[in-house]
């Protein structure tokens, strides 16, 4: 279903613009790979969704040639971060990129060392450089700058922000991320694919199932392995449980952006009930330990399905009562409505996914658009709101909770009986085969690209979580609002920093 089109890098811009067709076909992912050992080239891959199919442009750069390619950011805004990352990690320069400041590697990283090139060894000590990390701001009379983070006031992940302010109004927001950059993609290179799974599972806590699933499906796609039917349902079950606990928790936590303690506590209490069922189901509160390459590790019995059902029966009325507290509360609605608007066109231009997209009127859900596992035989609606504000993102989540609860019930209902093992063996994979794996995480689509090396080891993994394309939307949403609304806007996206930073 995926068409690869190989071109010289010099033609990348032309080819990509053609495929992009002024935004008709979105850019889903873009990454580089050092293939010099295989064919003497670096390669840049661009994944586009074209109607009902995915198409890949593979642009190659000769090792001996100039290490640069024409940037596609001028027309495809969504490529801006991907290209900056490629420049940082591989030293391949996107010529014509409007903003080539450092990105993943901070001021402590010396110039001219590119960690994702194959000739960079992880054991090499890298000296600590003392460079500057330029942040973008606005200067002018009466404009002042407010730096925030990386250590914040609440229990949240680290990121450094600069707000350029005129009075209380935000004029511009710039973010410095990658404080959580652990170099996971490099660290697992050379590790057996089934062992590296345990590191991939730990890219992010709240997207554990999503990352596991994308990674496993990439392996299974490459190896041509079919996952046993019951295992597919069990995977869908944990995926939906992940969506459920995230959405319920995020809806409650949105209240933390406005100091509405009753809402925070109600959400936290309901989330705890789900977390406990997660642990009963998989032995782990964040659902680690169910999905493995080839299938699943655990089965469920009638008692566990009854436990899930009774949790849902209890959850729904309680959850609806919590939502009623919001719907009828003017003080609450006043804070969420018309706050942090991302217009539809901006969402399309940036390639925003998941909740962020669906709240800005972009109808995408990878479970429906490119079904995987058992999703083609499950019924669900994709809620769409068009106002693009915090409220829209809230109501998308609320509607999705109802959809997810129905899905979990349907999955339990339809789950085929166990026949044989729940895990297919992964055969020896032809070295240097590659493929994609994807799924819809609670925040949006999660896409992995894997190239397998000799003896079923990882040659290169690129893990693009939903938060990655959604982050830049925040810099569109914040300006025009006052600083106290920023936590609210931030929480309405609930972007996982660990997913972006890897």
């Amino acid at each position: 279903m995926k068409e690869y089109k190989t071109i010289p890098a010099a033609e990348l811009r032309e080819t990509a613009y053609q495929l992009y067709a002024d935004g008709k076909n979105g850019l889903m992912s873009m990454f580089a790979n050092d293939e010099r050992q295989l064919n003497g080239n670096y390669a840049i891959y661009c994944l586009f969704s074209v109607g009902k199919s995915m198409q890949v442009i593979k642009a190659v750069l000769k090792e001996k040639g100039k290490l640069e390619f024409p940037s596609i950011t001028p027309k495809i805004s969504g490529a801006a971060w991907y290209e900056r990352e490629i420049y940082d990690m591989f030293g391949l320069k996107p010529v014509g990129h409007p903003d080539l400041r450092p990105f993943a590697l901070h001021e402590n990283w010396p110039q001219g060392i590119f960690p994702l090139r194959k000739d960079f060894n992880n054991k090499t000590p890298v000296p600590t450089a003392k460079k500057e990390f330029p942040m973008a701001g606005v200067e002018g009379e009466g404009v002042f700058q407010v730096p925030v983070g990386p250590i914040h006031a609440g229990i949240i992940e680290p990121g450094h922000f600069i707000f350029s302010q005129a009075g209380e109004d935000i004029i511009r927001l710039d973010a410095k991320l990658f404080f959580l950059h652990r170099g996971i993609e490099k660290a697992i290179e050379g590790a057996p694919i089934e062992r590296a799974f345990y590191q991939v599972e730990r890219i992010s806590g709240i997207c554990t199932v999503a990352h596991s699933l994308s990674y496993c499906q990439a392996i299974e796609n490459i190896a041509g392995v079919t996952v046993p039917p019951r295992a597919q349902y069990l995977r869908a079950l944990v995926s939906e449980m992940e969506r459920l606990y995230n959405h319920v928790g995020d809806i409650g936590n949105l209240c933390a952006g406005m100091g509405f303690a009753v809402g925070i506590m109600a959400g936290a209490r309901l989330k705890e009930d789900i977390m406990r069922v997660n642990e009963a189901l998989t032995g782990h509160r964040f659902l680690r330990g169910m999905v493995v390459p080839g299938g699943v590790r655990l089965d469920i019995n009638d008692q566990l399905s009854a436990e899930i059902r009774s949790m849902l029966d209890k959850l729904i009325p309680d959850f609806n009562e919590m939502i009623e507290l919001f719907r009828g509360n003017d003080a609450y609605l006043n804070r969420v409505e018309t706050t942090g608007i991302v217009p539809r066109q901006a969402a399309l231009d940036l390639g925003v996914v998941g909740i962020g997209a669906r709240a800005s009127g972009v109808d995408v859900d990878i479970r429906r658009d490119f079904p995987y596992g058992c999703y083609s035989s499950l019924k669900f609606d994709v809620p769409i709101y068009t106002s693009g504000d915090v409220a829209a993102r809230l109501w998308v989540r609320v509607d999705e909770v109802a959809q997810t609860v129905n899905l979990i019930r349907e999955i339990l209902e339809k789950m085929p009986k166990a026949k044989g093992p729940l895990k297919a063996a992964i055969p020896v994979i032809k070295p240097y085969s590659s493929g994609f794996g994807w799924c819809e995480s609670p925040q949006g689509n999660n896409i992995h690209w894997l190239m397998v090396g000799e003896n079923n080891t990882v040659y290169r993994l690129y893990a693009r979580a939903a938060a990655y394309p959604n982050w830049p939307a925040l810099t569109v949403a914040a300006p025009g609002n006052i600083i106290p609304d920023f936590p609210l806007i931030n929480k309405s996206y609930e972007l996982s920093y660990a997913c972006v930073d890897r």
Partner: protein
């Protein structure tokens, strides 16, 4: 407003004593080596462990709890039944100023000064956010950490304890050091979760990871787990404050 009150009253009190909830049967906690284990030295468990947390010592496996992610692969791999996974989550250990090498007088003094109302500053320097969400969960109404006089504060200047999650990444090293400096003495440091306790063992050697928390600042409490359950976090605090 009336609706809010109605909901609050209808919900009632859901707070539990921290030890009350019993981990479910499948819960993956401490891996223990069975007494009279018939280890044949086959090394299967050592090789299967994704974080190199097992070593054979004098003919029997030894699990480094600080680096264990409780996946249970070692237990599945052992043909001789030497290893068993329990649901035990109480794995916190003390070190630094609360460790055995510190005189009891000093330990008691620290506990006297900090013990009755402990203020915590969270510091994420490389975690996957699992630990951080569990930290959030100890503040939920079920565990309600505030009932023990413990709370999270917004600034290191107000804190008695730094709760550190994640391996020390290259990009967060400065934040760790500056936050530590900004915290007034006497102060305690808790390394929360397998990454913080063991450094690069979880993800492997990496250009972006500099090591475990205790390679940079003295650590007084280690709480293993991937991530530690909320109860394990509270256990670590209670152990540190001698309030078990």
């Amino acid at each position: 407003m009336l609706k809010v009150w109605k909901k609050v009253i209808a919900t009632g009190n859901v707070t539990e004593p921290w030890e009350k909830a019993v981990p479910p049967e499948r819960s993956r906690g401490e891996v223990v080596v069975q007494q009279n284990a018939a280890c044949k030295g086959c090394n299967l468990c050592v090789n299967v462990c994704p974080t190199n947390a097992i070593k054979l010592y004098e003919g029997s496996p030894v699990v480094n709890q600080k680096a264990c992610v409780f996946c249970g692969l070692c237990v599945d791999s052992c043909q001789e039944g030497c290893l068993k996974q329990t649901t035990n989550y109480k794995l916190a250990t003390l070190g630094g100023s609360l460790g055995e090498n510190t005189g009891s007088e000093l330990r008691n003094k620290i506990r006297r000064v900090l013990g009755r109302s402990l203020h915590i500053r969270h510091l994420d320097i490389g975690s996957c956010n699992g630990c951080d969400f569990e930290m959030n969960h100890v503040c939920n109404p079920v565990y309600d950490i505030q009932q023990y006089g413990i709370d999270f504060v917004a600034s290191p200047r107000h804190a008695d304890l730094l709760m550190v999650t994640g391996p020390v990444t290259r990009n967060s090293t400065q934040a760790l050091m500056m936050t530590y400096e900004a915290t007034p003495t006497p102060k305690l440091v808790m390394a929360l979760g397998a990454c913080a306790c063991s450094g690069d063992q979880i993800f492997g050697e990496s250009y972006a990871i500099r090591g475990a928390v205790d390679a940079f600042v003295p650590v007084d409490i280690y709480v293993p787990g991937c991530p530690p359950r909320p109860q394990a976090i509270i256990h670590g605090l209670m152990l540190a404050l001698d309030r078990m």
